[in-house]
Symmetry: C2
Subunit: 210 residues, 2 copies
DNA sequence: ATTATATGTGACACCGTGTCATAAGTCAAT
DNA sequence: ATTGACTTATGACACGGTGTCACATATAAT
């Protein structure tokens, strides 16, 4: 997290720094980004940077968390609109992100994030990283889910189910950039995989699939 | 890939370099690893290093590919032993890796790899990275799979199914190190998720699950 | 012996990092 | 208005890692 000092800064100075950071993290992934570039662009002295952030990771994760909040809000919304159907909510959100990023300034930041996705980045994009939010967010989602539509017997299975869908979802995001898929291809693959997830991968369970 | 020059080296010199690399990549993940440390440990001049590898990434991915081949072979074996039951094969292999790493010298390398997993690392661990192998490997696996047990209608669905199971598998590996799970916990979670995958996440499909 | 080709070597210029000593504000109390 | 306590600003600097390049040394081929 940024220090208090950063938040005490006049908004204009904060913004200039954030803009500079966005520019740098659009250019290259975290491990190639340089503080030198950011402070040059933001026209602040190097020493000041370290008054606000512990290092570039601190800034990066803060920034990523900020710009992913919109997507998280969208997920909540989708879940409500779809009467707690989690699969529809995931698909809607997937589409929202894929299409949204098209015009957005954040497209390249996401590209670099997905191509260098690790568990930290995944956590930030999935929950909101920062502690208090995390649990509340998760619980409020769990509460919105219509469990009747799901083939599960208890909370623990719901938890595992969420993990599964999240794994698959992130993997599909990554593939967009790795394979340079079009929106349509990406969505088609994702919908297909969700479909398979829903109906089950094995036919030991007497599914009625054609 | 290493240069020809590297492969022309006497085995002992190759080994010394590889050992030094293993030591460094056990200590820290790729982006923190330093060539300086490796060449010091291996007692080769810095200039020579660049005769053999383009940079530390080159060495790292080569190394990772080498040490993951054992696991890949194991997967093949499991698939055969389990009569093409891909789920059992995945579970066996998961167990093999989880238990195997316990005593192994490679444990920390894998830890650093999984905690910083990105699509490149995933590709190396999943297929064998290097081009010719990749397709052959994939095809030979596809051929070993008993499709009759699967709830799929064509090759394309099989492809998507593989992606799903791989996503989930890697995510479970990562969780071992993120959450510092015991072997038992890790395996239990994984088996549970595979179970859910097999029987399907939705109950729209008239599954007979209790 | 001569030429060509492959390999070895380490000093060097470059760049980014994080820190630290010092300066400069802010503000409340006397 | 001065003092003291605290917060914030600043940029020079030492450190460490990178990749390259000019030169040295093998090895092989004619």
């Amino acid at each position: 997290m940024p220090t208090q000092t950063f938040f005490h800064l006049p908004k204009s100075k904060q913004d200039k720094l954030i803009q500079a950071a966005k520019k740098e993290f659009s250019r290259v992934p975290l491990h190639e980004a340089s503080i030198a570039n950011i402070v040059k662009e933001a026209e602040i002295p190097r020493g000041s940077f370290y008054q606000y952030f512990e290092g570039k990771e601190d800034l990066y994760y803060y920034l990523l968390n900020e710009i992913s909040e919109e997507n998280n809000a969208q997920f909540h919304l989708s879940l409500q609109e779809n009467d707690g159907d989690i699969f529809e909510a995931f698909i809607d959100s997937f589409q929202f992100v894929v299409q949204g990023q098209k015009k957005q300034e954040h497209k390249k930041i996401f590209k670099n994030a997905f191509l260098n996705m690790n568990y930290k980045i995944e956590n930030i994009l999935a929950n909101n990283l920062y502690e208090e939010n995390r649990k509340n967010n998760y619980l409020s989602i769990i509460n919105l889910i219509n469990k009747k539509k799901l083939n599960i017997q208890n909370e623990e299975e719901l938890h595992q189910l969420m993990k599964i869908v999240l794994s698959v979802t992130f993997h599909n995001f990554v593939q967009i950039f790795v394979k340079e898929l079009t929106e349509q291809e990406a969505l088609k693959n994702y919908v297909k995989q969700i479909e398979l997830l829903k109906r089950g991968l094995s036919n030991e369970y007497s599914n009625t699939s054609s």
